[in-house]
C-alpha cells in the first residue's frame, strides 16, 4: 500500500470558500511524483449479442496514479461500465490490456474492490454477515480485521444496524454497507460503477462527502464511473470524459479544487464553468476550449 502525500489535501476551512479556481484545460499526465497504479492500454471491446456485435470501447488508453481519484464521465451507453469491468478483470477486452501494479489483469485481483450501482447485499444475510461476504469467498480469517470493520461501520454511521436485514435498510444505508464491505479487506484500488446513481439528490450529496472523507483518510486509488457531471467534478482529481459509443477518450479535465471540498462549492462560478465545459465536451464528443461556455449565454462572474 503506497501512502501518497497530497499537498492539496491540506486546504482548511478557508480553502473551501476560496471561490473561483482556474481550471487549466490542457491534458496533463498524472503527477510525476506518483507511480502509476493502473494503466489501460489501447482498450477495445466488442460484445457479441443476439442481434450482432456491440462496439463498446475503441482504443482507449488511460493511466491512474497511486492514490488518485479519477472520475470517468460520459453519455449513457458509452462504455464507462465496460471500461470499469475490464479494469476489474470481470470482462476481458477484445484488444488492448489492463496493467495493475505492473502486472496485466487477467481476472479478478485481490487488490481491487468493486462497488456497484446496486448495493447487491445478499437479502438472506444480515448487514454484518453481508460485510463478511468477501472474507468467506476469499477464505480469509476475518478476526484480524475485526477492529477495522467496526471502525468502518462506525465511519459510515451504521453502528447499531449490524443485525438488520437488507430490506430493513434504506437505499443509502445499503450503499454505505456495500462501501464497508468493499473496504473491509483493505483493497488498494476501488472501482465504483455509478454507485450513487439510484439514490436521491440529498443522499447522493451525503455519500459524495463520505467518499471524499474515506478517500482522504485512506489514500485509496479510486476510479469512479458516473453520468453526473457535478458529482464527477466534486470528487475527482481528474475527470475523464468519454465519447458516445464506441467510447473513446474525449478529454481529460484536471480538477484543482482544494480539499476537503464542500457541496456549496459546486455552486461557485468556476465550478459551473467547468460543468459547462464538460457538458459541451460530452455533447460534441471533443473539447473545443474554454470559449464554448460563452455560447450558452450565461454571464459568469
Amino acid at each position: 500500500m503506497v501512502q501518497q502525500q497530497r499537498p492539496d489535501v491540506s486546504g482548511g476551512p478557508g480553502a473551501e470558500r476560496s471561490g473561483v479556481v482556474p481550471f487549466p484545460a490542457q491534458v496533463v499526465a498524472p503527477a510525476a511524483a506518483r507511480p502509476t497504479m493502473m494503466a489501460v492500454e489501447h482498450a477495445t471491446k466488442h460484445y457479441k449479442t443476439r442481434t450482432g456485435s456491440v462496439h463498446a470501447l475503441e482504443d482507449l488508453s488511460l493511466e491512474v496514479a497511486a492514490g488518485e481519484f479519477v472520475c470517468v464521465l460520459g453519455p449513457s451507453g458509452c462504455g464507462k461500465s465496460t471500461l470499469l469491468w475490464a479494469m476489474s478483470g470481470l470482462h476481458d477486452l477484445s484488444r488492448g490490456r489492463i496493467v495493475l501494479n505492473g502486472t496485466p489483469v487477467r481476472g479478478p485481483r485481490p487488490e481491487i474492490g468493486m462497488i456497484f450501482q446496486d448495493a447487491n447485499l445478499l437479502p438472506w444475510r444480515n448487514l454484518w454477515q453481508n460485510i463478511h461476504f468477501p472474507f468467506e469467498i476469499k477464505k480469509l480469517d476475518a478476526r484480524p480485521y475485526r477492529d477495522r470493520v467496526r471502525g468502518l461501520v462506525d465511519l459510515v454511521g451504521l453502528t447499531g444496524f449490524e443485525k438488520k436485514m437488507p430490506r430493513e435498510l434504506s437505499g443509502g444505508m445499503q450503499q454505505r454497507a456495500s462501501i464497508v464491505r468493499c473496504l473491509s479487506y483493505d483493497p488498494s484500488v476501488i472501482l465504483m460503477d455509478e454507485p450513487f446513481g439510484a439514490l436521491d439528490a440529498f443522499t447522493r450529496d451525503e455519500m459524495n462527502l463520505l467518499i471524499q472523507k474515506i478517500w482522504m483518510e485512506t489514500g485509496k486509488t479510486i476510479v469512479f464511473v458516473t453520468h453526473n457531471v457535478t458529482e464527477a467534478i466534486f470528487l475527482a482529481d481528474r475527470v475523464v470524459v468519454l465519447t458516445p459509443r464506441p467510447g473513446r477518450l474525449a478529454h481529460v479535465f484536471p480538477i484543482d479544487l482544494p480539499r476537503p471540498r464542500s457541496i456549496d462549492q459546486t455552486f461557485s462560478p468556476g465550478f459551473i464553468r467547468t460543468v459547462l465545459g464538460i457538458k459541451r465536451t460530452i455533447e460534441t464528443g471533443a473539447y473545443a476550449g474554454d470559449e464554448t461556455t460563452q455560447a450558452v449565454g450565461i454571464e459568469l462572474d
Binding site: W85, S88, R106, R109, N120, L122
Partner: protein, 284 residues
C-alpha cells in the same frame, strides 16, 4: 475469465424487474395466506368455528336421518379412528414407507437435475418437454405397467411416487436456479469466487424459496400417487384400505382413513411452510 459474465453488457435494472411476478413460498397459493392465530381471541374464534362446523355436520346428519353407510356421523368417524387405529397402523406405516422412499428418490434426482440442467440452456431446451410430459401424465396410470414389470412389492409404488414427485421438484427448482442475479454474481466474481462458490453462496440461496415450493408440491403429489397406486394394486397401505372398507360399506372406517390422509397432507404443508418461513423469509 468468468464465463457467466463474458458477454453481459453491464447495464442492470431490468434483471430485477421480473422478480415481483415470481412465485415464492409466500404467494404460491391462496392457502399460504393462512397464518397462525395472533391472539387468544383469534384462537378462540378459530376453535369455535371448527366446533360449529363439525358439530353442525353431526346435528345435520342426525336430523336428516342420513344412513351411516352413506355418510357416517362425525362422532362415529372419531370413534372408528380411535378404536381401530391398531388396525390402521400397519397400513399407515406401509404408505409412509412408500411415500418416503419414493419421495426421497424423486426429490433428490429432481433437485440435482434442476441444478445441473439450468447451467446448460441448450440441454434444458432438449429435456424440458419430457419433464413436462412427466408432470402432466398421471403416474397412477403407469402403476399396472410397473406391477407387470416389478411385481407386487413396494417397488412399483415407490417408482410411481418418485415419478410423480421428481418432476414437480425439478420444474420448480429449475425456475429457482434460473433466477440469476448478475449483479450479485459479478460482486462475488470480483472477490475471485469460483463457480462452485457462486453456486453455494448465490445461486442456491436465491433458488431456495422455489426449491421449497417444489419440495412441497412434490410431497403432496407423492402422497396422492402413493394412495392412488395402493388403490390400483396393493395388499396394504391406506389406499388399499379405502377400497377395502368401501367394498364392505364400513363407512366410518373409510372416513377415518380419509381423515388420516387429510392430516398427512396438512402436515406436509405445515412442515414446508415452516421450513420456508425459516430459510426463505427474506423473500417476503
Amino acid at each position: 475469465m468468468a464465463s457467466d459474465l463474458r458477454d453481459t453488457i453491464p447495464t442492470f435494472g431490468q434483471a430485477d424487474a421480473h422478480r415481483q411476478e415470481e412465485v415464492s413460498v409466500r404467494n404460491w397459493s391462496a392457502l399460504s395466506s393462512v397464518s397462525v392465530a395472533r391472539s387468544g381471541w383469534e384462537a378462540l374464534v378459530i376453535v369455535l368455528v371448527a366446533v360449529a362446523v363439525i358439530g353442525g355436520a353431526e346435528v345435520w346428519v342426525r336430523a336428516a336421518g342420513i344412513e351411516s353407510y352413506v355418510f357416517p356421523k362425525p362422532s362415529e368417524i372419531g370413534r372408528a379412528l380411535i378404536d381401530n387405529f391398531d388396525l390402521f397402523r400397519p397400513h399407515l406405516i406401509a404408505t409412509l414407507r412408500v411415500l418416503f422412499s419414493g419421495y426421497a428418490l424423486g426429490a433428490a434426482v429432481g433437485l440435482v437435475l434442476a441444478a445441473v440442467i439450468t447451467q446448460f440452456p441448450f440441454m434444458e431446451k432438449v429435456i424440458t418437454p419430457y419433464i413436462l410430459l412427466l408432470v402432466t401424465t398421471p403416474m397412477i396410470a403407469l402403476v399396472p405397467l410397473l406391477i407387470l414389470k416389478l411385481g407386487f412389492g413396494d417397488s412399483p409404488r415407490v417408482i410411481a411416487v418418485a415419478l410423480a414427485a421428481g418432476p414437480m421438484v425439478m420444474i420448480n427448482s429449475a425456475t429457482g436456479f434460473r433466477r440469476t442475479d448478475l449483479g450479485k454474481i459479478a460482486l462475488a466474481r470480483s472477490y475471485g469466487a469460483s463457480t462452485l462458490q457462486i453456486f453455494a453462496r448465490i445461486r442456491f440461496p436465491l433458488a431456495l424459496p422455489m426449491i421449497i415450493v417444489g419440495l412441497m408440491v412434490g410431497a403432496i403429489f407423492g402422497l396422492l400417487t402413493a394412495v392412488g397406486a395402493e388403490m390400483v394394486g396393493s395388499g396394504e397401505g391406506l389406499g388399499n384400505r379405502l377400497m377395502f372398507y368401501s367394498a364392505r360399506i364400513q363407512m366410518a372406517n373409510f372416513f377415518a382413513i380419509i381423515v388420516m390422509l387429510a392430516v398427512m397432507g396438512i402436515l406436509i404443508y405445515v412442515l414446508f411452510y415452516a421450513v420456508g418461513k425459516k430459510w426463505a423469509s427474506w423473500e417476503a
